[in-house]
Symmetry: C2
Amino acid sequence: MSVQETARVREVGLRDGLQMVHAMLDAGRKLEWCRRELAAGIADIEVTAFVPAKVVPQFADAEEVARGALAMPGLRPAALVPNLRGARRALEIGLKKIDFVLSASNEHNLRNVRRPTEESIEDFGRIKAWRDEHGAGVELGVGVATAFGCTIAGRVEERRVLRIVERLLALGADEITIADTVGYADPGQVDALMRQVLALAGKVPVACHFHDTRGLGLANVYAAVQAGVRIFDASLAGLGGCPFAPNATGNIDTEDCVFLLESLGLRTGADIDALLELRRSVESWLPGEPFAGAIARAGLPKTFRLSAGAGPLQRQG
Amino acid sequence: MSVQETARVREVGLRDGLQMVHAMLDAGRKLEWCRRELAAGIADIEVTAFVPAKVVPQFADAEEVARGALAMPGLRPAALVPNLRGARRALEIGLKKIDFVLSASNEHNLRNVRRPTEESIEDFGRIKAWRDEHGAGVELGVGVATAFGCTIAGRVEERRVLRIVERLLALGADEITIADTVGYADPGQVDALMRQVLALAGKVPVACHFHDTRGLGLANVYAAVQAGVRIFDASLAGLGGCPFAPNATGNIDTEDCVFLLESLGLRTGADIDALLELRRSVESWLPGEPFAGAIARAGLPKTFRLSAGAGPLQRQG
């Protein structure tokens, strides 16, 4: 792997992380989080979700947060939208990146958005049409949730995931994110699925979204890197548990993900020390929440050197 | 990877784990641990270390534990020895497997056994000669510690590790274990080093010993599996911290390691539920110690099925 290769870590803690916590974080702190994470070198941040406030009260301030994020030069804020209504709200505010999500597991999709996966695919087509008419230049990503298995339905067939990806690409998705929503993936599965997804996607960017529920989050990142994936969702301090597994850790940890990618010689542009400092603030804002992450606990190896800006050498001599 | 392929998980919790804990575990419980882990399908257990009792009081009962373990049909007990004196004690008791250890980092070796690595290699030659004369049929393994870096010296050159491995093979090692003693390894490093070690070792078995200090333990197992390694050290409940990193987790967790290997289609012969039950007992025996492990926290995926005895199918339909 060339030492000049890059990888992108996208922060989803403000969305996937915060939707799980008990405390309400006010818009000011959400924006401080964005500002400091941007300063730490992470410019792709999913800042909020356009969902009904009665479903997820944490995102009642979605407009305010999105507007604040749009005012930060250099930040590339995105928002999650579950339907056309959410997409319209996000477009009206001026976001240039919208992440639609559906579940590969029909049962999970029914539970999550009360319609079969097939209808969500049609919803995506409608969002795409709306975007084409009203949102020139807005990037439309799609996440395929429960792509490696489902706590409700169990196994999710690989060919089903691939068919859904094909449909979404045909409908004009600008980016595909394959998500292990419930932490069921193993690296062998990741390697096999991601190679096929990348082959289908061609020039359309492909990302992975892993949870560390069963300890394989970073092993899955490594498998995906080997398959060719270079974009990863992660959550600062590992925020974001799983509603179906109490005490289980949530998204892979941003700092640890950066550490792994940089160790593999992939430049992320992120400053781990600055991320750890921000992490300490986030921990202080959310007392009593479970946090995860190994680098925060153990520190960086003496042999580690960030590739970003440090020239081609990965490890200290 | 063929679904019929096997992998071996060796329990090191009774040695690498217990040497770090504060509570003294009596010989009866150590032997109960062995008995129940054997019943759970793990037959390779490093049961103790033959070191001076004043250095590690936990192993003052080494003879008693080794004798008790030798009396269990089907168990393959091993013991760690740091020098010829320890090897003689282990041989006299009748152990059929002895694990010598030295550090690739000269500084670490000096700190650990008060002699340079070179002298430890000579010690290994003396142990080998003694074994040849007095211990026919006794297997002599060697662990190369700090093979991926050192908290004292920093970087450890790959070529230095390979030269040490060559020397040990030439002296007649029956098995080589490459150890990331301080949790510095990343999967790229593991892949590169292990392919070369396996090539040098030829038919001599090669194992890996990883710590999860920085969250990459299982990613490193996956990288080693891909390189061709099929023997892994692990510690029940992730027991065994690192003296140089407070609050850091220790050895990779036995249950999680079995989960990963089985997920990859490698038969370990281990029963995860029985391991989790034993784990609960070990936790009750060692109050206040830090434990790790994701499967113990989150449970197995609905889609998971042990390959051992369950036929060729890895995942439930």
